[in-house]
Symmetry: C2
Subunit: 458 residues, 2 copies
């Protein structure tokens, strides 16, 4: 019945070129129906989350995830290879502890070391607090000597009025990334950063941070938003309270790891490649379910759906499970380097799903405006699936390494309202992903792959 | 500062009528910002869900909910009145029990009596099963005597391929509503209906059912989707298995209850009324959080936001907490009757939020096409808030009683992917509602009320 239907569709297109649009719509309907009726991504995500769990690159779990992805894509009959890359090693060590300490009181509060942070001394760091909401405020305090020897508390609230919560994250995340190096310039002893989330709750959210070589490396942690509010309120009546935190993470030499790549050759233009991916690594807490197990299983399911349905693919589709997005981006860089060195082919477009597994809203495009405009013509096909929020966008952290190769970079855009409740926290677990929402994402990505494969980007 | 801003906006409009659109956009931005920064609806919903809980009309909890809404709307300085109506009394009685019984085995499965069902005998009903997926299949079996004395199992799967899950519900719900009366025509002993949900899980979903006077009233229950699949698979190898269920619900004489109404008089056209509401009653399981606590608190918050911001309202806004939507619709009917009898005013538009508290997608319109088209011109204001899925729609079960009064009926459309996971089940609890999603709904409704109040519908 399926073959009969495809034959009819095919004859239809050959005899009536004007019917192409109807045929594209029909294919896309088939894709969504198949994804909603026979979803496999949710089961794959369950395996990844419950059998392997979180998987920071460089960890044994990340290596298990590489084997899992390799084996799964082989079972899907993709042509599977691995791309070696060296990744940083960082390990959290024993559970962190922190307290707000006043003359009469000692309140324990939840923290997580930021990824890449140095350790405190074994007894921790205990010091008075300099609370700031911006680098300007830090500079003002720092220049008058009010930061030296203190713990700087970056209490920047993620702005709740952005409808797209990623915009609020973009504004706030600089304090996580650069807080320690900026505070160290003024002789701070340590840094505590309000967690990057729109929720007020008890989950601290980790994430990457940077140091530079000109100032001392000081320890930095994230504190839950509820504890951040407590700390800030406490300080009003008690400016002399102290913050005390203990954390013992360790760094080590780089470790060998891999991107896992599964390819399906194009029938007419095999040298034009469409990349679709997510990142296999996660932070070392929770399950890495939304970030980014969801994106991984959607990328694999998207291509599997096209194969299952027998939809013709003119161009080569390359599924990439990127390694080390969270703390280095080495996998994305390595993938781009190999693509650049391969003169026989060109990555014409790359799609990344790294914004969670929630219901699709659309896609964001980064790259050549002419190519973007051409791609934008397909937007209409996604209106029936409520996924037509298309426009200029960010691409994705892994695929953006391809930018100088003229690749059209495309970020999948799911609904963002709940995403930062989970992101980089112990709360990012399998049960937070909804099967229908996940399947709709797989289908949206599959539909876009089909269109790009059929018509290219020129 | 707020007053200053409003004065500037107002001068702007008077001096430059062409600037109205910018002013409307500015008001709408203020509404969303306020809702996202200072949401109150989530706290109200917590009170309703955790202090009162579920509240089937006619129950003591429903009466407590009436008092709660009355008191809350008074605290918001709405002009509060109550509209008396008589509602049916039905009580579930002790927890239902059901088993799949084969020669060697007895498996307990989760069921809920459908609302309004008669009881089984105290020892229950135990009989062989006639499984059907449609009324056509029922008729085919019934006409050949294969239904008599059996329990009819309506195993209609909600079609997962509808992107809007309400469409799948619309197709499947007829078996819940009319299954018992249709099966009784053929002498069935009872009815078990597959739960109306897109999830495969262990929660049975109740809901209203009907009888007619020409056939015997037979007991009807809903079975969880997972148990429905088990039952169906079991039957393949064991056609003689039996279903055994025990349930002891009771009906009684009608009970007095109320719609609770909170009004804010319009400054220029007080006789033109815009109704906004949800239904205060729920099914008698879970918290009635999405269905329809969410809609109630959004309706109240929408008007509260407009008042807080000092946004001028030319027309009268009437917040209605409807009673008895779930099992009779008496509150909606009573409200429409009173509106019709009041010759001094006209309900020009009515907005109902009764599709859950998820992230807004848009609004659906039912009524005069010219009015609908006029309202559709406001759609553009909602694009920045990702709530511009506007088009012909259903209205709402409570407000649709106003249809013959020329009222423009408007249903709030949140994302529907998760809704039927919760609807009418013990799973519809407070923790399933997300604060940002709820607040975005309040804001969307407030923005639409403002536009309708400012410009009317003619």
């Amino acid at each position: 019945m399926k073959k009969f239907f495809l034959t009819i569709l095919f004859c239809f297109r050959v005899l009536l070129p004007a019917a192409s649009q109807d045929m594209d719509s029909a294919y896309i309907k088939m894709i969504y129906n198949k994804a909603l009726r026979e979803q496999q991504s949710y089961g794959w995500l369950e395996e990844l989350c419950l059998n392997i769990g979180h998987r920071l690159s460089g960890s044994p779990q990340a290596e298990r995830a590489v084997k899992w992805a390799d084996s799964l894509m082989r079972s899907l009959k993709f042509n599977v290879t691995k791309q070696e890359c060296m990744v940083p090693f960082w390990s959290r060590g024993p559970k962190e502890q922190a307290w707000i300490v006043s003359r009469d009181n000692k309140i324990e509060v939840p923290i997580l070391a930021l990824g890449g942070s140095v350790a405190t001394p074994p007894e921790g760091i205990k010091a008075k607090i300099a609370e700031v909401k911006s680098f300007d405020e830090l500079d003002a305090l720092g220049k008058t000597g009010q930061v030296r020897g203190k713990i700087v508390f970056f209490n920047k609230v993620m702005d709740p009025t952005y409808i797209n919560t990623f915009e609020a994250y973009g504004e706030a995340v600089r304090y996580r990334w650069a807080g320690a190096m900026r505070a160290a310039q003024y002789g701070a002893a340590g840094v505590v950063v309000r967690s990057m989330t729109t929720a007020i709750d008890d989950f601290p959210h980790t994430g990457s941070m940077g140091y530079n070589d000109t100032v001392q490396k000081i320890p930095a942690c994230a504190i839950s938003t509820r504890a951040a509010e407590t700390l800030s309120k406490f300080r009003v009546g008690n400016p002399d309270i102290e913050f005390h935190f203990v954390m013992q993470p360790k760094s080590g030499p780089d470790v060998k790891s891999f991107n896992v790549v599964g390819e399906v050759k194009g029938s007419e233009k095999p040298d034009e490649v469409i990349v679709v991916g997510g990142h296999l690594d996660s932070w070392d807490v929770g399950h890495g379910a939304h970030d980014n197990g969801a994106g991984c299983v959607q990328a694999m399911e998207a291509v599997h759906l096209l194969k299952l349905l027998g939809i013709p693919l003119k161009r080569t589709i390359r599924v990439v499970m990127f390694m080390n997005e969270e703390n280095g981006g080495r996998g994305g860089a390595r993938h781009a380097e190999l693509a650049k060195n391969n003169k026989k082919e060109k990555v014409i477009a790359a799609i990344e799903s790294d914004a969670g597994g929630h219901a699709p809203r659309g896609f964001g495009f980064k790259g050549d405006p002419v190519k973007t405009e051409k791609a934008m013509r397909y937007k209409k096909y996604f209106t029936p699936y409520l996924a037509d929020l298309w426009g200029p966008g960010y691409g994705g952290a892994d695929i953006n390494h391809l930018e100088d190769q003229g690749t059209l970079l495309i970020g999948f855009r799911p609904d963002s309202q709940r995403y930062f409740d989970y992101h980089h926290s112990t709360n990012d677990t399998f049960d937070k992903v909804h099967p229908r929402e996940l399947a709709l994402g797989s289908a949206s990505i599959a539909a876009l792959i089909y269109l790009l494969s059929e018509y290219g980007v020129e």
